[in-house]
């Protein structure tokens, strides 16, 4: 009952001052619209840029580093225990980059339910032979199915069919840049030389475009068996295991765990690409800062308008109090006014923010380095709308708080005497 009465009084005051109210509401609408559009766009960009890395990067990469043994023979000698020794120019032994206890590791990964999947890989240094010239390159031997499932391989094969890599023996998907340099078309046969001097003819079945040009000039893909053949290695030769986890946040901890467990190098994605994370979080921070600044400005607008309204309505407030409305009631009337401005302004802002995001989403955006992107990226995360809604109510409440308190403290005697 009382609630209804307070509401009806608030609405009447609002309607009587609808122009100012509208201006205040438009302020909120504008800031929420910009807040939503800005965050959606920024976050879309972040996702896209992260995607460049995250899509194609394992959460944990397990591999063998070729490095000198940490324990030199003298360290093992009992005789010189407790002595200092200095050995200079230690060289690594001629050890292959192969992962040794591969079957055991695969069994462990299979049984670990934090793991979404894993894909073995062979990295082979090669030269692409173009006439007399040799271009350096890297051939990644991959398990085509798993690579497609876990690392969106398919999205990055811009010409040809990725599955041919598995079905056609001795086939290769060339990096776009490499293909251009070699003038190799799909269906052509190219020749590569390994670092050990083996030569091999490979049939081009597609182009790969990662979005990072330097990478595309060098990297190509072949199936695991083709890579093993190329290197003259046996069926169980693997240089990398790429692990994808159910939650990317677990990567650093699990990388350490695996490194200990398997006695191997394990690099998590956060360590390998820390610069991207920093960039993302700073962009997000800036968007929030701008959005919140806009809201605060809108909040001051509401504050002004309420103050004005209260100044104009002194008489009304006085008589309401004289006829039995308490300070609390008056306070609630003005808070209700503030919140309705926030509610309708904010609601409108969410709506227009969605519209604006949609428009941005349809603006064509083509860039050679990003084959899968056709328009500006937008992230329609409901989180932004939720934050926008909460913020619009919170700022309007705060903007209304002091004017409302002032109104509730108006002494009717002072006003009535002043007449």
């Amino acid at each position: 009952m009382n609630f209804k009465l307070i509401n009806s009084i608030s609405v009447s005051l609002l309607v009587a001052r609808w122009k100012q109210t509208l201006v205040a509401a438009i302020g909120v609408t504008f800031s929420i619209t910009m807040f939503i559009a800005l965050l959606s766009f920024m976050s879309g960009l972040n996702d896209m840029l992260d995607g460049l890395i995250v899509n194609r990067t394992p959460h944990i990469r397990l591999y063998n580093e070729i490095q000198a043994s940490k324990n030199q023979p003298i360290d093992l000698s009992k005789e010189y225990k407790g002595h200092y020794n200095f050995i200079r120019s230690v060289k690594p032994k001629n050890e292959r980059a192969q992962i040794h206890n591969c079957p055991a590791m695969i069994k462990a990964l299979d049984n670990d339910d934090r793991v979404l999947g894993y894909a073995p890989k062979i990295v082979a240094q090669v030269f692409y032979n173009v006439g007399d010239i040799d271009l350096t390159g890297v051939i990644n031997g991959v398990n085509v199915d798993e690579e497609a499932r876990l690392f969106k391989f398919k999205d990055y094969v811009t010409a040809g069919n990725y599955i041919d890599l598995k079905n056609i023996p001795n086939s290769i998907i060339l990096g776009k840049g490499a293909a251009e340099k070699m003038l190799a078309n799909i269906g052509d046969v190219v020749q590569v030389t390994t670092s050990k001097g083996e030569r091999m003819q490979l049939k081009v079945v597609g182009y790969f475009q990662s979005g990072i040009q330097e990478v595309d000039k060098v990297q190509s893909y072949a199936s695991i068996s083709t890579a093993q053949k190329l290197l003259g290695e046996s069926k169980n030769y693997i240089t990398d295991i790429q692990v994808k986890l159910k939650d990317i946040a677990w990567a650093p901890k699990m990388a350490k765990e695996y490194a200990n467990l398997f006695d191997i190098e394990a690099v998590d994605i956060q360590t390998a690409n820390s610069q991207f994370e920093t960039g993302s979080s700073i962009r997000t921070l800036i968007s929030y800062a701008v959005g919140i600044t806009l809201l605060i400005v809108a909040g001051f607008g509401i504050y002004n308008i309420l103050n004005m309204m209260i100044y104009e309505k002194m008489d009304s407030i006085a008589i309401l109090k004289a006829t039995g409305f308490s300070g609390n009631d008056v306070n609630r009337i003005f808070i209700t006014i503030a919140l309705s401005i926030g509610f309708f302004g904010g609601g409108m802002g969410l709506f227009l923010g969605f519209g604006l995001s949609n428009i941005i989403d349809n603006v064509p955006f083509n860039t050679a380095s990003l084959p899968t992107i056709k328009t500006f990226p937008i992230n329609y995360n409901p989180k932004f709308y939720f934050i926008g809604a909460v913020f619009s109510l919170v700022t309007t409440y705060l903007a209304g708080y002091f004017p409302s308190r002032k109104a509730s403290k108006i002494d009717p005697v002072v006003i009535i005497r002043g007449k």
Binding site: L5, S12, G324, I416, R417
Partner: protein, 226 residues
């Protein structure tokens, strides 16, 4: 008949700005149910100040005020608002109607605040009051479409809507011409005679005062006749 509705006991009031002066000096009196009382006195003798205290709007005083047998001293702001809403109707020199609402709604507001009756019933009661005051035809106009006399009658209807124990007025006819003053007086008289309404009206108009049941005369913050 002789039930005491309002009792003031040694009420004193000081103002401290610019210098401390005592405007009310131990005012003591009581009002019985159904009495039509007027307060007169020279300008500046403290009539309005007294009325604001009696109506519970001003709480900065010494002494004791009982309304309907209940002390007002220790009540909180919200409780006093409730007392004003339920037991006191107030009419000022200026009408203080809200132009955001029509006449009927203005009269209804204190009734809706009281929450004792449904909105429909409050509307019915408000309409009845307007009828008693002969302005039911203006019910749907907004206040600034009315004449001064009509506005003041709406303000009286608003004061009546919750059937208060007492209606107080601070020079309610002060802004009105002879004819409208007459109308308002007749209304008060009728409320007193027909409805046994208790009334306490501050006035400068001796003719008006002489026609009431009882005159309280003040001078320099004291009651000199009652």
């Amino acid at each position: 008949m002789e039930s005491i509705i309002l009792q003031a006991n040694k009420i004193s009031k000081y103002f401290h700005d610019p210098s401390t002066i005592q405007v009310l000096k131990e005012i003591t009196f009581s009002l019985n149910k159904g009495e039509f009382t007027s307060i007169i006195g020279k300008s500046g003798c403290g009539k309005s100040t007294l009325l604001y205290i009696l109506s519970t709007m001003d709480t900065d005083y010494t002494g004791d005020l009982r309304i309907d047998g209940v002390g007002m001293r220790d009540k909180k702001e919200g409780e006093l608002a409730r007392v004003r809403n339920e037991k006191i109707g107030f009419v000022f020199q200026f009408h203080y109607l809200l132009n955001e609402f029509n006449v009927l709604r203005n009269v209804m507001l204190p009734g809706l605040k009281l929450g004792k009756y449904s909105e429909k019933e409050v509307e019915e009661r408000a309409y009845q009051k307007l009828k008693i005051l002969g302005i039911e035809k203006e019910a749907l106009k907004i206040p600034n479409q009315l004449s001064g006399g009509q506005k003041q009658r709406v303000a009286i209807a608003r004061a009546m809507v919750n059937d208060p124990l007492i209606i107080m007025g601070d020079e309610p006819t002060g802004n009105l011409d002879k004819k409208n003053t007459e109308i308002v007086f007749d209304i008060f008289k009728e409320l007193s005679d027909v409805y046994n309404q208790t009334l306490l009206i501050v006035t400068h108009d001796n003719e008006f005062a002489n026609r009431t049941h009882r005159i309280i005369e003040m001078e320099d913050g004291r009651i000199i006749r009652m």
